[in-house]
Symmetry: C2
Subunit: 347 residues, 2 copies
């Protein structure tokens, strides 16, 4: 990628090892724009200082991207890694109903990382930050004799009575999911088969894998309008999400196989590879859609939210039950336990 970006010189691209910590930080800070008025002390001091608005609760989350575990740099560009590192954290804020406010960025950089990759990575972070009004307020940069590590903490605000937790699902509630499921898994499979597919010419599943979109507006609307009783984001797939929701709320869940929203291209990809699209939708991670529950009395509030989130579909996929367990219900009346999700650490 980098050699191709310097066709005029033919020289090897500059690597981050030649820059040093201060130059790298200065390079990032130069691109950050003016500070919002709630930021009392900006980057460049021992820490950043901000003043949250009244009656708001602050939401804190952290997630890391490690090359070779969460992404593979052969398949994913530096810009997409930057986007992902922030997106996965914003997705957690979305799942709490919070509006993002600020983020920190911690980078462990291999010495031979091209400076152009560093710049692209920062571009990926800052483009999403700007679009979501997330302010980068600090971070640190270190060298690593190992893979690239991008660690982000995001902090957001929400009215304390509008927080969406995983604990509020009650028997009788409907289960909803946003968007479509299994896309990212299908996209990653396609990228592994044909790594030269780039985003501009990518299929829907590939684009979904490469640029996950945090459902911030949906999360905030679900909270503000008291439409949802519980919510979480699907970072590790629907099966994993259902099992966490059931456990945290102390309920059972029944999901209808036929109701799962699957994109035609993702269904076609599964069929082509001889895989079951429903199973893929259950175990496929990295979609970052929201899974949420709704009291039957608040179904109209969800209809209102659905109108406001535009093209993003909200699909009713099942029901919360009193009996523990998470079940997949088939049209013919059969039911089977939802398969276990995956764990990053043992991936």
């Amino acid at each position: 990628m980098d050699a191709a970006m310097h066709p005029d010189t033919g020289a090897a691209p500059a690597t981050v090892d030649a820059l040093g910590e201060h130059a790298i930080i200065a390079r990032i800070c130069e691109r950050m724009g003016p500070a919002p008025d709630w930021l009392l002390v900006d980057v460049g001091d021992d820490a950043a200082v901000y003043e949250p608005a009244r009656n708001l609760a602050e939401v804190v989350t952290t997630d890391a991207i490690v090359d070779g575990v969460h992404v593979n740099r052969a398949l994913v560009s530096a810009q997409e890694i930057g986007h992902r590192a922030l997106a996965v954290n914003l997705s957690d804020l979305a799942a709490m109903g919070a509006a993002p406010r600020l983020a920190t960025l911690s980078l462990a950089l291999p010495a031979d990382l091209p400076v152009t990759d560093l710049d692209d990575l920062v571009s990926g972070v800052l483009a999403l930050a700007e679009r979501t009004r997330t302010r980068l307020v600090g971070g640190n940069v270190t060298r690593i004799a190992g893979p690239l590590v991008v660690d982000v903490v995001a902090i957001g605000s929400v009215h304390r009575r509008r927080v969406l937790t995983r604990r509020g699902a009650r028997p009788g509630d409907y289960i909803f999911v946003s968007g479509t499921l299994g896309d990212a898994r299908a996209g990653l499979a396609r990228l592994i088969q044909a790594p030269t597919i780039r985003p501009d010419q990518a299929s829907y599943p590939v684009a979904r894998y490469l640029r996950p979109e945090p459902r911030l507006r949906l999360g905030q609307l679900l909270g503000r309008r008291r439409a949802a009783t519980a919510a979480l984001d699907l970072s590790d797939g629907l099966a994993d999400g259902l099992s966490r929701l059931a456990e945290c709320s102390g309920v059972g869940l029944e999901v209808e196989a036929d109701a799962l929203p699957i994109h035609p291209e993702t269904a076609a990809a599964a069929a082509e590879a001889g895989r079951d699209a429903v199973r893929e939708a259950l175990v496929g991670g990295d979609d970052y859609e929201l899974l949420f529950t709704v009291s039957p009395k608040r179904l109209r509030a969800v209809t209102g939210v659905a109108r406001l989130v535009g093209e993003l579909n909200l699909t009713r996929i099942g029901r919360v039950t009193r009996t523990p367990g998470t079940w997949l219900m088939h049209a013919d009346g059969r039911r089977e336990p939802v398969p276990p999700g995956y764990e990053h650490f043992t991936l």
Copy 2:
């Protein structure tokens, strides 16, 4: 270390790879104690939610510890790495005058890391967290095909008019530093020479290197009593701190060589190794003392603070000037530019 802890079995210790992400997180959460009342949503949801007290500004900082860059696991125990990862962040809060409130912990673990080392690392974090009333509110765990990475974000609170920045030093102010300088560098040198020195039998410099103490009480008192015009912590040494202070405040600094506080054991270690103790005090990092400036009118406030911090000495080492530059003043009237500090990235 680990083999010695299992003398009864002789079996190889369990490694983290066998545990998986959920088990590792559960292992950490089990040890965390009851949540404070300002923590609205604890670990286990998409994110933690807290509600800061009124009129308080929130302070956010992040710093990572990478094995092979900031520490060497051959010299520093897992518990000390955990302590350090939190301590360096709390030191940044101290330098802002903030009281710590919460922290996140992000771990990238090599697959062959013994579980006992993971537990020891967490012990190091939690012991310091408990002593400083810092609540761990989340984090994440991932595998890494590379060195151990421990990334911490700490958040603290301070009254917005009591924030200590690096920008407030004015010509005529006195320059102060807490504790003694160059100890950690001397301690690290001794550890490298003789890695079998352990903390319980360690000399003062070795103990200072292995267990840096964030100067939280000092920072908060300097802010609350309006004793300091500016403050920062000495993570990368006095020379580096002076240069950052001069740059951020737009002033010059004159430091008296004879005034630098140097511990007798550290002075002896320098003499023994044929090194200049004053130079060591200037360029040696990892002491985590506070460097701060004081208006002549507020010298009495500093005397009051000094009484309250007990055994921690506060030493007047120089003066803020209008002319730019950072200078080392000798008793015979000579002056020389303060040598540059070091940069982690190019260490």
